[in-house]
C-alpha cells in the first residue's frame, strides 16, 4: 500500500461505476423546464434494470436528472433531502431555488473529486423560481455551467447538435416534448445503453409533473436491414479471414467486394 499518499485503510482511489444510467436531456421552454431520461440501469453491457427513475423533484422549485452510477445518485438524493428539510425547518418566507441547489451540488461534487472519491454522476438541475427559469449541469469532477439546453453523456454528442439547430426561446410544451422525443429517439438508435422506456418531466412556476413511462415509436425498415442473411452463405470464410488478419483491412475489403460481385455460390 502506498503509505506516502494515503493512510492505511483509508485508501480511496477512483472508483468504477457499476449500475449506470445513460443520457439526460434538459431544455428551457416557454413556461419552464423540460427534462427527459430513459429508465434504464445498465450493469456494464447488460441492461439490468428497466424501471429506474432518474428524474426527481427537489424542494418546491427544482428538478434533478442524473446519469452515471445509480447508487451515487441515491446518495445525492439523500443529501438533497436533508438540505431541503433544513431549509423548510427555518419556516420563514425563504426557500432554496434551482440556482442554490445547483451550486450546492457543485460544491459537493467538486469536494468529493478533490478527495479522489467522486460521486460518479453527471447531474442536470432545472427549475423555475419567481418567474426565472434556470437550467444547469454539474459533472462528477465539479465542472458546472448554465445554458438553455443541457445534456449528459451521449446526449452531449447526439442530442445537443439537434437542440442547437432547433431549440427556440418560445417553445410550447408540445413543441418541447416533440423536440425531446426527437433527441431521445436518436439516442435510442445510437446509444447501446439506451432503453425504450422514458419519462419526461416538466417544471413550471406552478409545480412539477413527471410523466408516466412510455415508449417511442421506432423505424427499422431500412433496405440494409432487409434480408439480413442475404450474404451470409460463404461468409464463414470471410469471418475466418477477419479473425486471422486483424490489421489487413484492405484485404478484408477486397474479400468483401469479391463476394459482393460474385454473389453466393
Amino acid at each position: 500500500m502506498d503509505t506516502l499518499l494515503s493512510s492505511e485503510g483509508d485508501s480511496q482511489r477512483t472508483q468504477y461505476p457499476y449500475v449506470t444510467g445513460t443520457s439526460v436531456i434538459g431544455i428551457k421552454y416557454k413556461d419552464g423546464i423540460l427534462m427527459a431520461a430513459d429508465m434504464g440501469g445498465s450493469y456494464g453491457s447488460t441492461i439490468r434494470y428497466k424501471s429506474v427513475e432518474r428524474l426527481k423533484q427537489v424542494g418546491k422549485h427544482s428538478l434533478i436528472g442524473a446519469s452515471g452510477e445509480i447508487s451515487d445518485f441515491q446518495e445525492i438524493l439523500k443529501y438533497l433531502d436533508e438540505l431541503i428539510l433544513h431549509d423548510n425547518m427555518w419556516d420563514d418566507g425563504n426557500s432554496l431555488g434551482p440556482k442554490e441547489v445547483h451550486n450546492y451540488l457543485t460544491r459537493v461534487m467538486y469536494n468529493r473529486r478533490n478527495k479522489f472519491d467522486p460521486l460518479w454522476n453527471s447531474l442536470i438541475i432545472g427549475g423555475v423560481k419567481n418567474g426565472h427559469k434556470y437550467l444547469g449541469s454539474v459533472s462528477m469532477i465539479g465542472v458546472h455551467f448554465e445554458d438553455d439546453h443541457v445534456a449528459t453523456g451521449f446526449g452531449n454528442h447526439l442530442a445537443r447538435p439537434i437542440l442547437r439547430e432547433e431549440w427556440r426561446e418560445d417553445l410550447t410544451f408540445e413543441e418541447g416534448v416533440k423536440l425531446l422525443e426527437k433527441c431521445m429517439r436518436n439516442l435510442l438508435y445510437r446509444d447501446r445503453s439506451a432503453v425504450n422506456k422514458l419519462q419526461i418531466a416538466k417544471i413550471t412556476e406552478e409545480g412539477l409533473t413527471v410523466s408516466q413511462p412510455y415508449s417511442l415509436k421506432t423505424f427499422w425498415n431500412f433496405a440494409a436491414f432487409q434480408n439480413p442473411t442475404v450474404n451470409a452463405e460463404g461468409s464463414w470464410i470471410l469471418c475466418l479471414m477477419m479473425f486471422c488478419c486483424t490489421k489487413t483491412c484492405a484485404f478484408v475489403d477486397a474479400s468483401f467486394s469479391f463476394i459482393a460481385r460474385h454473389g453466393s455460390a
Binding site: 427555518w90 418566507g93 425563504n94 431555488g97 440556482k99 445547483h102 460544491r107 419567481n130
Partner: protein
C-alpha cells in the same frame, strides 16, 4: 438596578425569574451612543451618532457593511459589535459561496440570536454587551431587525437604541405609519431628523452622524460626509421642522443653478435623483 445576591453569574436565576447579568448587558447597550433604523417597502436606512473620545481622536465605527444586501449598526461595547460583525460577514460569505445566493436576512438574524443565547447559558461566558440593528434585503422585501444581548430578536418598522434613543423613538412613533411608502430620500431625511432629536440641541453636522442605506437596486453603502452635510443643509436652510412638503427641496435645488458662491452647497442636493 442595584446589586443583589443573584447577579454574579449569568447562569443564576433570581427568584423572580430574571437573569440579572443579561439585563445588565442590556444596560450596556443603553450607555452606547444612539443608533437608529427605519425601513420602507424597498429601502432600509441606518443612522448613528458618532462619539469621539476627544478632539484628537477619530470617532468609533458603528455601522458595518456585512454584505451587499445587509448592514448593521451597533450600540454598546463596540469591541463586541466588531466581533459579531465579523461573524455575520463570515456567515454571509460562506452561504454565498455554497449557494451563489445572498443569505436571507431573517436567517442571519436567527443565527446571530442563537449565538447570543449561548452566552446566556454558559458559566464561563458573558453576554455580548452590544445591541445590533440589522438592515437587509431579501426575497420578501426590506427588513430591519433588532438583536438583543439576551438572544432575542424583533423585526421593526423603525427603532432606536442607545443613549437618548427615547427622543428618537418618540419622533419615529409619530412618523412611522408613512414609512412603508416613503421614498429612499424621505427615509434618509427622517433618519436625520430622528438623529437630531437625540442630540438634544447640539448642532447636527455630518461630523457627528453617519448614515447608511440599503435598498432594491442599491447595495449597502455608507453615505459620505459631503452628501450627508448637503442633505442636512437642505432641510435646515429651508427651515423645515418636519418633512411636510416634498416639493420644497426640489424647488431649492432648481433655483440653485442661478445662484453663485455661497449657495453652491445647495446645488449639491442629491434629492434630484
Amino acid at each position: 438596578m442595584f446589586r443583589n445576591q443573584y447577579d454574579t453569574d449569568v447562569t443564576t436565576w433570581s427568584p423572580a425569574g430574571r437573569l440579572f447579568q443579561v439585563e445588565y448587558a442590556m444596560e450596556a447597550v443603553k450607555q452606547g451612543s444612539a443608533a437608529i433604523g427605519l425601513r420602507s417597502k424597498t429601502h432600509v436606512v441606518l443612522a448613528c451618532v458618532n462619539k469621539a473620545n476627544s478632539e484628537l481622536s477619530s470617532h468609533q465605527k458603528k455601522i458595518f457593511k456585512v454584505d451587499d444586501h445587509i448592514g448593521v449598526a451597533i450600540a454598546g461595547l463596540t469591541a463586541d459589535g466588531r466581533v459579531l460583525s465579523r461573524y455575520m460577514r463570515s456567515e454571509c460569505i460562506n452561504y454565498g459561496y455554497t449557494y451563489e445566493s445572498p443569505l436571507p436576512v431573517g436567517r442571519l438574524v436567527v443565527q446571530l440570536a442563537d449565538k447570543a443565547q449561548v452566552c446566556t447559558q454558559r458559566s464561563w461566558k458573558r453576554p455580548y454587551g452590544v445591541g445590533l440593528l440589522v438592515a437587509g434585503l431579501d426575497e420578501s422585501g426590506a427588513h430591519l431587525y433588532y438583536n438583543c444581548p439576551s438572544g432575542n430578536y424583533f423585526e421593526y418598522q423603525a427603532f432606536a437604541i442607545g443613549s437618548r434613543s427615547q427622543a428618537a423613538k418618540t419622533y419615529l412613533e409619530r412618523k412611522f405609519e408613512k414609512f412603508t411608502e416613503s421614498s429612499r430620500d424621505d427615509l434618509v431625511k427622517d433618519a436625520l431628523f430622528a438623529i437630531r432629536e437625540t442630540l438634544q440641541g447640539e448642532k447636527l453636522t455630518s461630523a457627528v452622524c453617519t448614515i447608511a442605506v440599503v435598498g432594491v437596486g442599491e447595495a449597502f453603502n455608507i453615505l459620505d460626509q459631503k452628501t450627508v452635510q448637503a442633505l442636512i443643509n437642505e432641510f435646515e436652510i429651508s427651515g423645515e421642522e418636519a418633512p411636510a412638503d416634498e416639493s420644497a427641496p426640489e424647488q431649492s435645488g432648481g433655483a440653485a443653478p442661478d445662484q453663485s458662491g455661497a449657495a453652491a452647497e445647495e446645488e449639491a442636493a442629491p434629492m434630484d435623483i
